[in-house]
């Protein structure tokens, strides 16, 4: 039993990261129909920038804030330089553009940073907290708590602010959004900036547990994409549940079957969803497209 609990906690911790990546996919997808495969690079930029800034002597909170800002700028540039000029292109073209951007950002990270693995000190030490026979790293609480705060902030943004509702309106009906005076190009840029910030926060929180390097984004994007598909592409609640589910499946698979196949779980989830559950667990989002 303690073993199961242990697997669940580590599964939920990585799952929270997948959930944040999946939320990033969802926000951009809803605002612009783009499936952004550079989403994992935001996570990498968050982790790597914080690592290098702290190594240069910047205090952790400041380094983390700076890393989020760097990711937001990269998100904005990605939209302005790569997505906006291709407005009206087919979804496949846009996906290829984001894959290209992902490769480019990885290459850039090799040059700007390096090719090593890096870690950050855990925010509240490494003394495990004993709970029901399981040992939980304090950093796990940072990851889970951080994810919970982000979900709450997003919820308030979309439900309580006019600009948040403008983003939802753009997702629901782009033509009508433009006709009421919403600058939909701004909304799309905003969705890239928000997704970048969310990814970066995830990267900063999880680096003390999983380490980071210039190329962690690729696998994270894949797992976040699996999570988003499992939850139903475009559905924020689905993204969170899907992320936690993929994390749990991975941890249980690694624990009870073999850790060799850990990374295959996400592929299997994608295949199962494609064949058996094309709408995902929560069906297509309540978003209507014309």
């Amino acid at each position: 039993m303690p073993e199961l609990l242990q697997f669940c906690v580590s599964g939920l911790t990585v799952g929270a990261v997948y959930a944040l990546v999946a939320l990033g996919f969802t926000i951009i997808y809803n605002a612009s129909d783009v499936v952004n495969f550079a989403q994992g690079e935001f996570v990498m930029i968050g982790g790597m920038t914080t690592v290098f800034a702290t190594a240069a002597g910047v205090p952790l909170p400041l380094a983390a804030l700076g890393a989020v800002l760097v990711a937001m700028v990269v998100g904005l540039l990605l939209h302005r330089l790569a997505i906006e000029p291709a407005r009206g292109a087919s979804p496949v073209t846009l996906i290829i553009i984001t894959i290209g951007a992902s490769i480019f950002l990885r290459g850039l990270a090799q040059v700007v940073f390096d090719k090593q693995f890096h870690s950050l000190p855990a925010f509240s030490g490494n003394t495990p907290i004993r709970f029901g026979g399981a040992a939980i790293l304090p950093q796990s609480f940072w990851v889970l708590g951080g994810a919970a705060v982000i979900v709450a902030v997003l919820w308030a943004f979309f439900n309580r602010t006019l600009i948040g509702k403008a983003v939802l309106a753009t997702a629901a009906n782009r033509l009508a959004a433009r006709l009421v005076g919403i600058n939909t190009s701004f909304v799309m840029g905003l969705s890239f900036v928000m997704s970048a910030a969310i990814g970066a926060v995830a990267g900063i929180l999880v680096t003390p547990i999983t380490l980071t390097s210039y190329d962690v984004g690729m696998l994270l994007a894949l797992k976040g994409f699996a999570a988003a598909m499992l939850g139903g592409m475009g559905n924020p609640l689905g993204a969170v549940v899907g992320g936690l589910a993929v994390g749990l499946l991975e941890a249980l698979g690694a624990g009870y079957i073999s850790s060799t196949y850990k990374d295959a779980i996400a592929f299997i989830v994608i295949l199962i969803v494609l064949f058996a559950l094309p709408g995902g667990l929560f069906g297509k989002a309540s978003v209507e497209r014309v």
Partner: protein
Amino acid sequence: MHSTEPLLRVEALRSAYGRIEALHGVSLSVAAGEIVALVGGNGAGKTTLLRTLSGVQPMTGGSLSFQGRDISRASPHARVAAGIAQVPEGRQIFAPLAIEDNLRLGAYLRKDAEIASDLERIYSLFPVLKERRRNPAGGLSGGQQQMLAIGRALMSRPTLLLLDEPSMGLAPVLVDQVFEIIQRLNREDGVTVFLVEQNAFAALSIATRGYVIETGEIAIEGKGSALLADERVREAYLGV
């Protein structure tokens, strides 16, 4: 004909989908305070014209001016801010959003303090929207969605209201109601109306002036009553 500059002036307007031109040089004008009807058959270019006026469909030639200023290159949001609102064909409500959010988004660009009182005004115009204001707009019937689309456009406090086939798909009672409201807005609030309709009789009956559009060109123009009496119009559009 007009001593003063009209509110909206459209000159030799062209618009195309790819290489296929849908508007071949449309010229018309709408004076402040008028209800101007644009009638024509399916595929004549009415929707294309309205979308071009709102800036959501590119124009390939000609010019547009509103309140004497050239708006040919203005963004859609700049046109809304200038006072042009549109009730689009097929209503195009924000289905997953609450009814009240749909209306509030109609006032997206407004910063004044009277948004709440305008919302109440819309609710008094369309009481059914108030009853269900917290529900997703997608649950409304077709007629109610049309009311919502009109209410949403009014929330921007437009000077010029563009309506694209507001009677389409509505039961006759509702059609009467919609046309009554359009007249009331024009009379009581001084909203200038440019009304696109396939229902030529109803539209021309309430219109000051009217235009007939055929395959992307204005074919006939005149007073509303004159068009109702026009032989060609009667044959082609009124089924008489």
